[in-house]
Symmetry: C2
Subunit: 138 residues, 2 copies
């Protein structure tokens, strides 16, 4: 199996496969005499694992951890701990973005959006010393 086939089978872009190898997330693949990378089913499984973990938003370093736990059949406590930590970070980010969206919505809702330059959004950006002013007004 060469890198193109491994890519299709795992869902991981060929370019990314080489990158994962370069950062040591996966061991260096075998090579044909001509220098082409060769992948076994087991290696494709690992790539699929990584791909799926990326879909969950896990950062590479945590994926490195997860792959290690997986291959070494470590206690599920360890795995769960990593997952919970990631979920907490997702949650943090969600809260952040939601706050941005809501604050912005508050301003946009009061913006006429017509031909006149007067605009609560610009007023807030330009002048607000107290970031919560819009929310407080709401």
């Amino acid at each position: 199996m060469n890198i193109g086939q491994a890519s299709k089978a795992s869902g991981v872009n060929a370019k990314m496969i080489r990158y994962y190898e370069s950062i040591g997330l996966i061991p260096a693949a075998g090579r044909t005499p001509a220098g082409y990378r060769v992948y076994t089913d087991a290696e494709v499984n690992t790539l699929r694992f990584i791909h799926r973990a990326r879909q969950f938003g896990f950062p590479m370093e945590r994926i490195r951890l997860l792959v290690g736990l997986w291959r070494a059949h470590q206690p599920s406590r360890e795995v769960k701990q990593v997952a919970l930590k990631h979920m907490a970070e997702l949650e943090r980010r969600i809260v952040e973005l939601t706050a941005m969206r809501d604050a912005l919505k508050e301003l946009a809702d009061h913006c006429r959006g017509d031909h006149q330059p007067e605009c609560p959004i610009l007023r807030d950006l330009a002048g607000s010393k107290t970031p919560g002013a819009a929310a407080q007004a709401a």
Copy 2:
């Protein structure tokens, strides 16, 4: 006003002020004979505007746009349009992250988290061909 004072007054890191200048987001500041950058109150206001826009998560290119609209007293319609586009992107990201968190929570909730290696999280990462399997099972 030198860059340190402008930084404190605007909330924008001095390093970032130089960066914003380098990418043309703000015009090059005046200089003292010794080469120190000098800032007026108006320039600090612009920096504060940028700082606030960053807090709303606006990417630089959109901030460049907003600063332009602001300074040229353009119709609020333009401003609102930019804000709405950004809100839509925030929303997209929120939905993405929420889906990740929920799917992960579903798996973590069913993980014993004990000394045994058996773990729904790893099972999903390793084997799921259908990304929605966990959600469907729920």
